[in-house]
């Protein structure tokens, strides 16, 4: 936040405006790393919100989604943060259980492929997990088909990454009774399991595998930012598991009204229009101008799979055990 170049000018102005500056309320939002980076949604959203709130919006980036919850749990009710942005439905059950979150109170017309009814957590974007491969190459058509094929994939570890956990849920939701068998059949397709998304995606781009576990929206990045149409997501017959990213207001906030204002802002144009080409996900509310050019080329799954937060939390240990046993042989 320091801009030393402008300091002399700003210092002069600040002297005159000290009284008003001191009263400028600060809203602290905890989010994941890539959200606040220069090429993420953070900077544009900060500008848009500060234009209408007469406040100072401060994003603090901390690692990934799972780390956000861990940090809030470490800090407990004494936390200075007002809003947490970037949890997903695999984490919301645990988040709710902490009792640290308050109802968001926002009613909005969400453009999600599923019904959303959660009083505590408000979606800000969403996407489908998918295997992303090269356009001109052989593709699998389903999880089962992938498992019996010779195609090589890189996936992420469900114990340390969000997409990894998503795939675990995907397999379990698409094949509730066969999950273990699917994993056993997948074992010889898996080149390796990485700790996080970045390593896996980098390995795929370096040609280490035919496909990588990512999102249906990943090809949009290559298409729009790099004008490269060579990456496609493989549509799977079982349908695709969803990731819904949510924000939650912390009950301990000392800026309750401002936090409410920000929660409402999340589903407004100023926030949502930034999401597609910065976070490379679908916005929770489609912007007035529609989705950016290129998004229409993306795979739209016929079936959207998603477990309720409670189900996801309840089944996680069992699904992990299945995964571990199947891949440990």
């Amino acid at each position: 936040m320091q801009k030393p170049i402008y300091l002399p000018v700003v210092a002069g102005l600040a002297l005159c405006a000290t009284s008003t500056l001191a009263e400028t309320p600060v809203l602290q939002v905890l989010t994941y790393d890539s959200f606040v980076s220069d090429w993420g949604p953070g900077p544009a959203i900060e500008n848009a919100f500060e234009a209408e709130c007469a406040c100072d919006l401060e994003f603090v980036g901390s690692s990934d989604g799972a780390a956000l919850l861990a940090r809030i749990q470490l800090e407990g009710p004494r936390t200075e943060f007002d809003v947490v942005l970037g949890l997903d439905t695999n984490l919301t059950a645990a988040a709710r259980e902490t009792g640290l979150f308050a109802p968001h109170g926002v009613t909005a017309d969400l453009d999600l492929p599923i019904a959303w009814d959660d009083a505590d957590f408000l979606p800000f974007d969403w996407g489908y997990f998918a295997f992303v491969g090269n356009a001109d190459a052989e593709a699998a058509v389903s999880l089962r088909n992938l498992a019996v094929s010779d195609l090589k994939i890189v996936i992420q570890d469900p114990r340390s990454s969000t997409p990894g956990l998503g795939l675990l849920m995907w397999v379990k939701e698409a094949h509730p009774d066969d999950a273990a068998a699917i994993w056993e059949a997948l074992a010889d397709n898996i080149v390796t399991v990485t700790p996080g998304w970045s390593e896996a995606y980098g390995m795929f781009l370096d040609g280490e595998a035919d496909a990588v576990l990512s999102y249906t929206t990943s090809p949009a990045y290559h298409l729009i930012a790099e004008e490269d149409a060579s990456k496609v997501a493989w549509p799977f017959e079982e349908g695709h598991y969803m990731q819904v990213e949510v924000a939650g207001k912390l009950a301990s906030t000392d800026q309750s009204e401002l936090a409410d204002q920000f929660m409402a802002f999340i589903v407004s144009e100023g926030f949502q229009s930034v999401i597609p080409t910065t976070n490379w996900m679908y916005p929770a509310v489609t912007p007035e101008a529609g989705l950016p050019d290129g998004f229409e080329t993306l795979v739209t799954p016929a079936v959207s799979l998603l477990k309720s937060p409670e189900d996801a939390a309840a089944i996680r240990a069992e699904a992990l055990e299945e995964w571990r046993n199947a891949l440990s042989q």
């Binding site: 090429w39 994003f59 603090v60 114990r159 390796t192 700790p195 970045s198 390995m203 280490e208």
Partner: protein
């Protein structure tokens, strides 16, 4: 003749440094454990993780040390153009962030790497880097350079007078000089590498093909991040300390006594230089194994340097400042502990190796949180934690040198009436300049590449270079991230080289 140990060095700085290390290792663990609720015992998966962790760490350390001996011997005996630059470059794999080094390894050994492309071209069945052997390969890649450096220092520490004596008596140099030196140096080198591999996480997972290659550190990560089970994390961290303690005791048991005595700082001249072929073969193989992956990292990243956002350069400056602070702190602590000496210091000196970076970070968070906002102290905490985590390496480098200064010049210093601080300034620091330069470079470069702690604490304003690189990767900017990796590699090596070069001064290494 036996003399009473002379205590001319001030004691309180060592005690203070020791206390700081204890707080950051055991203290942070206690902070985590105190916040924990009762937890369940170890499951079968945990035992499998412990078994895997120990086996891979043992093999990685063993292979690294065994391979390092001929390379170090060759480097000690031969002089050739570019030798110094080569020794500096050798350090690079150890200094790199894991994620960067893994990219380089995959570029060489991966499915689409140089090696397999060549083998397919030659009609040979390609090999896979992924699996248990891949984990070992990567750990050897990381730690072989460290082993070479430590063992090479052992070789160079044999005074030239001893070689002259051995040569004049026509005594077998191997038996009278080299094997005793190795007995003194190898066990502790093995221990250090074993402990580094014990707390490995990303390497083991990325190259290990999945849950079979689960280490204890990954289990801690899972407990902290996904399950928020602090008790489990604390328990697993205790197990790591337990394994460390067992390994340390064994290593000390087999360590020989290093009784080389003082020399007169003459350049080591050797009279046993026959059969250069094997020496140069060892050097060439090590160079191929260690430098090609690095070259791949550089080749891939160079175009990315141009498209990096300017914030990356700012992050680089910030990282350099943190590295300087961290190295200063680390060397001060190491000197203080080295002057204090004794077995307690040896224990304190290896503790950080056994500490889980995640637990240290989390514990530090819990300790500072009641007093300040963690984001405000992110850089200071990073400096402190990095200094502590690098301490074992620096202490390992300068500890024996300080002991030697004490033994050789302690009585002389007392007899000419040097005071404590003058003794430090006039005698100790100049005498340990070479290992001190190495240690400072090492700790600075290690700090440059560290991501562990800062990720937990940082907000936007405290972005360091590795963090910026990670953020680029997380935003699909793999090319820019590769550029940042090259910058990171370049800056780390430069800092290391400057310090190491200063340490060598006008004395030939």
């Amino acid at each position: 003749m036996a003399q009473r140990a002379i205590t001319i060095s001030p004691r309180w700085p060592g005690v203070l440094a020791g206390a700081l290390v204890l707080v950051l290792t055991l203290g942070t663990l206690a902070a985590v454990a105190l916040r924990a609720e009762l937890t369940t015992g170890l499951g079968t998966a945990d035992w499998a993780a412990i078994r895997f962790t120990v086996v891979q760490a043992f093999l990685s350390a063993l292979i690294s040390v065994v391979l390092a001996i001929p390379v170090a011997r060759a480097l000690a005996r031969r002089r050739f153009w570019g030798r110094q630059a080569f020794i500096t470059l050798l350090g690079a794999p150890f200094l790199l962030p894991v994620i960067v080094a893994v990219v380089g390894l995959i570029a060489v050994f991966g499915r689409n790497g140089i090696l397999n492309s060549t083998m397919i071209w030659a009609g040979i069945e390609p090999i896979s880097i992924y699996g248990f052997h891949g984990v070992i390969l990567a750990h050897v890649f990381f730690n072989l350079p460290l082993a070479v450096r430590f063992i090479l220092q052992g070789w160079l520490a044999i005074p030239s007078e001893r070689f002259r004596l051995a040569a004049s008596l026509n005594a077998p140099i191997g038996r009278v000089l080299e094997i005793p030196m190795l007995r003194a140096v190898v066990p502790s080198t093995f221990l250090v590498i074993f402990l580094i591999c014990l707390t490995s996480f990303a390497v083991a997972l990325t190259l290990g093909r999945g849950p079979k290659s689960t280490t204890v550190e990954l289990a801690i990560y899972q407990a902290l991040r996904f399950d928020f089970d602090l008790g489990r994390a604390a328990m697993l961290a205790c197990i790591q300390f337990g394994l460390c303690a067992v390994a340390a005791v064994i290593a000390w048991r087999v360590t020989g006594v290093d009784a080389m005595g003082a020399g007169f700082d003459r350049t080591v001249t050797r009279w046993d230089k026959r059969r250069p072929f094997w020496d140069y073969l060892a050097i060439a193989l090590a160079a191929l194994f260690l430098l090609i992956p690095l070259a791949m990292v550089v080749l891939r990243g160079l175009p990315g340097l141009l498209i990096m956002p300017s914030s990356v350069w700012l992050a680089a400056v910030r990282s350099v400042l943190v590295a300087i602070g961290s190295a200063t702190l680390c060397c001060t602590m190491a000197i203080a502990l080295g002057l204090l000496g004794g077995r307690a210091v040896a224990v304190v000196g290896v503790l950080p190796l056994a500490a889980s970076g995640l637990v240290v970070g989390t514990g530090a968070f819990l300790i500072v949180y009641p007093f300040v906002s963690p984001s405000d102290v992110a850089l200071v905490i990073t400096m402190l934690v990095n200094a502590t985590l690098a301490l074992p390496f620096v202490l390992r480098a300068i500890g024996p040198a300080i002991v030697a200064v004490h033994d050789d010049f302690g009585r002389l210093a007392v007899s000419v009436g040097l005071t404590r601080w003058r003794w430090l300034w006039v005698v100790v620091l100049p005498r340990i300049r070479r290992p001190l330069g190495f240690g400072a470079g090492l700790s600075a470069a290690l700090s440059m590449g560290d991501l562990g702690v800062i990720a937990l604490f940082a907000g936007k304003a405290e972005e360091t270079l590795p963090l910026a690189m990670h953020r680029l990767m997380g935003a699909y900017r793999m090319d820019a991230a590769a550029g940042a990796a090259v910058l990171l590699l370049g800056v780390s090596l430069l800092i290391f080289w400057i310090c190491d070069h200063w340490g060598r001064g006008d004395v030939d290494l």
